[in-house]
């Protein structure tokens, strides 16, 4: 009969913990078997740190994040319209600290993939056995003439990273005169939160309708020719605010002149390939790319913009022992146009995959079979919401989009032969579910 030495005994103990979330006795967990550093404390990074500790308390986990408080982008459009207090979207890092995550608030300046260390601006250095990169997206201001980061923080907020700019855009909206024009410029896909710009248009319209700005116009200048949950948005826009000619909301596709190339913050105009548009508020969402620290490290292998990873583990294709999750990575069934959406829930799901893969690897156990899911709600009125769900599996080391387990809320009710409009009560329920989803997602990432 085989006997165990102490090392393998520890493996067995934490292996059991890994798979069934048993509590490892303190005396066995005291010696860290591996050091994992997580860079970035958004939904992805926080969830990764949390699940690593949940699955194996024997692993030493350090989370490095600049900010001390995180604001959820999901549902932050409701803050702009005054429907939601921004504090309901915030989470701190005490929950993770209580789970034994070493939380370090610092700016990561460099990663050395050879010596396996992470350096921060304040001169600290963190050695790692495995590194999880979750830096989120960088916004490329230089892609639009006349736009700068400074302008985004003052006159032309993108409000695409929830926080001070969300509140700034809300203030601008409150000050907008009746008959004013609110322009939203949408970057070329892929970008964070695919339905976000269109939900924002609805939230702005709702605010205007209920706050004496019934003559306001919302103009969406889109760099793309279609968009997420389109039939659902168009139905709601039409029913609630008026859409198209004479309506409150107008959408211009990329092919018909929606691509903004230049902005003038003094004249408050933006220039597209076809036309100039004057706005009282110009909300330019600049094009996205993987966070700088990931690009600097050479992880952005797809056109220098996005980080490619391995389906079974989320490990970078560029560097061993470095994993990339969240909005910086690219994955899914790209050939059929079913890539991973850049969403909070997707990042949370990827984090669970990376945590399980790492725990198995660090314990010498066979790699688990990953599964990826996404749920994302959009709220377009007091009593009107809808959602999309995604399911991805991994077969033969490739992501497979499972169409049967994916899709948007129904566009019609009843049967194929006898379609009926979807009951308003159904749309209203999704508003309630959106709130419950966000609360659980925050807890599943930060608590």
């Amino acid at each position: 009969m085989q006997t165990l030495d102490r090392r393998n005994f520890l493996k067995a103990v934490s292996g059991a913990a890994a798979a069934s979330v048993l509590t490892v006795p303190q005396s066995f967990a005291a010696t860290a078997k591996a050091r994992v550093v997580v860079v970035g404390g958004g939904f992805g990074g926080a969830s990764a740190a949390r699940y690593l500790r949940l699955l194996d308390p024997g692993i030493d986990v350090t989370l490095i994040e600049r900010g001390t408080r995180y604001t959820s982008c999901p549902l932050s459009n409701e803050v702009i319209s005054g429907e939601r207090d921004i504090r309901t979207l915030q989470a701190g890092y005490n929950g993770l600290a209580r789970r034994g995550v070493k939380v370090v608030h610092a700016e990561v300046t460099q990663v050395d993939p050879v010596n396996k260390t992470v350096a921060t601006a304040d001169g600290q250095s963190f050695p790692y056995d495995a590194l999880v990169m979750a830096p989120g997206v960088d916004l490329d201001y230089s892609a639009i003439g006349g736009l700068t980061e400074e302008l985004a923080e003052t006159r032309l907020p993108h409000a695409w990273k929830a926080g001070p700019q969300t509140l700034l855009l809300k203030k601008q909206l409150e000050a907008m005169p009746d008959g004013g024009r609110f322009i939203i410029s949408v970057p070329k896909a892929p970008f964070r939160c695919p339905p976000g710009p269109y939900e924002r248009a609805a939230q702005v319209a709702m605010y205007c309708r209920h706050h004496g700005k019934k003559k306001a116009k919302i103009l969406i200048l889109d760099s793309n020719d279609s968009f997420s949950k389109r039939p659902l948005f168009e139905e709601a826009w039409k029913a609630l605010y008026g859409y198209g000619q004479g309506g409150m909301i107008e959408w211009v596709s990329g092919a018909t002149g929606g691509i903004v190339e230049q902005v003038d913050a003094t004249a408050m105009t933006c220039q597209t390939t076809f036309d100039d548009h004057k706005g009282d508020i110009i909300n330019i969402i600049p094009p996205h790319r993987a966070g700088k620290i990931a690009r600097d490290l050479g992880l952005a292998t797809l056109k220098g913009t996005w980080c490619e990873v391995r389906p079974e583990s989320m490990e970078s294709t560029a560097h061993k022992d470095i994993y990339v999750i969240g909005d910086s990575c690219v994955g899914g069934e790209l050939a059929t146009g079913n890539g991973f959406p850049k969403s909070a829930h997707m990042a949370n799901s990827q984090a669970k995959v990376v945590a399980a893969a790492l725990v198995a690897r660090l314990n010498g156990l066979p790699p688990p079979v990953p599964i990826y899911t996404n749920t994302c709600y959009s709220v377009v009125g007091h009593d009107w919401g809808f959602s999309v769900v995604h399911l991805f599996r991994v077969e033969n080391n490739k992501w497979v989009y499972v169409a049967k387990g994916s899709g948007i809320s129904p566009v019609t009710f009843g049967t194929k032969e006898k379609p009926l409009p979807v009951p308003r009560s159904y749309r209203k329920m999704e508003v309630a579910y959106a709130d419950g989803w966000l609360r659980n997602l925050l807890a599943d990432s930060f608590a």
């Binding site: 006997t3 165990l4 030495d5 005994f9 067995a12 103990v13 292996g15 059991a16 890994a18 798979a19 069934s20 979330v21 048993l22 699940y51 949940l54 829930h345 949370n348 799901s349 669970k352 995959v353 399980a356 198995a360 156990l365 066979p366 688990p368 079979v369 990953p370 599964i371 990826y372 899911t373 749920t375 959602s387 769900v389 399911l391 499972v402 049967k404 387990g405 994916s406 899709g407 809320s409 009710f413 009926l420 009951p423 009560s425 159904y426 329920m429 999704e430 309630a432 579910y433 709130d435 419950g436 989803w437 966000l438 609360r439 659980n440 997602l441 807890a443 599943d444 608590a447």
Partner: protein, 191 residues
């Protein structure tokens, strides 16, 4: 190595072997946490806690959603991507978790109204506090009241396909004001 330690280690190898066989279902179950909370204990008022609900109940509703025998807002889409075996395993997994009630505050007036409403319509199948259900019914003591109101609204609306005849009838027999009262009453129960 002492004899005790060896025995403990062997016991743990046993756990480990079982665990790795179950590994995939754990991975799948974790995807539910995003909306239903870790271990199926929800902190979102509109999302139900599912940890500790009866296996039969969980399996039935997931299969009903999958085969379009029951309406839902989101779950009917999600479960269509799962195999029947996965549904069975998920039901077994969450049934094994501890039921953690989240008793919510309710006014004395609402509780009194709720108590009278539930004794007529709910108690038979769910028990006086919602903690002693029939085999095909969920526990609802300390379940989120907001969720239960939404669920009752589905049972009361003929456009929603809800297959449980007895539950449907009970929900439809309730007066509109009894719905939040009954939900509030069960939501307030800790045991």
């Amino acid at each position: 190595m002492t004899k005790t330690k060896t025995l403990l280690a062997l016991a743990l190898i046993g756990v480990c072997a079982t665990a790795s066989a179950r590994g995939d279902i754990e991975m799948l179950a974790r995807t539910c946490n995003g909306c239903h909370g870790v271990g199926g204990v929800s902190v979102g008022l509109s999302m139900p806690s599912i940890g500790g609900l009866p296996k039969e109940y969980l399996r039935n509703i997931m299969k009903q959603w999958k085969y379009d025998e029951r309406s839902a807002i989101t779950m009917n889409r999600i479960v269509k991507g799962l195999s029947d075996d996965e549904i069975d395993a998920l039901a077994a997994h969450f049934a094994k978790q501890r039921w953690v009630p989240a008793p919510q505050q309710a006014s004395a007036a609402l509780l009194a109204k709720g108590k009278s409403a539930i004794s007529e319509n709910c108690e038979d199948c769910h028990g006086f506090t919602g903690s002693d259900p029939d085999v095909d019914a969920p526990r609802i003591n300390g379940q989120w009241a907001k969720y239960m109101e939404l669920e009752l609204a589905k049972y009361r609306d003929p456009r929603f396909k809800m297959p449980h005849r007895k539950m449907k009838k009970a929900a439809q027999d309730m007066k509109p004001a009894e719905v939040p009262a009954a939900a509030g009453y069960f939501g307030a129960q800790d045991k």
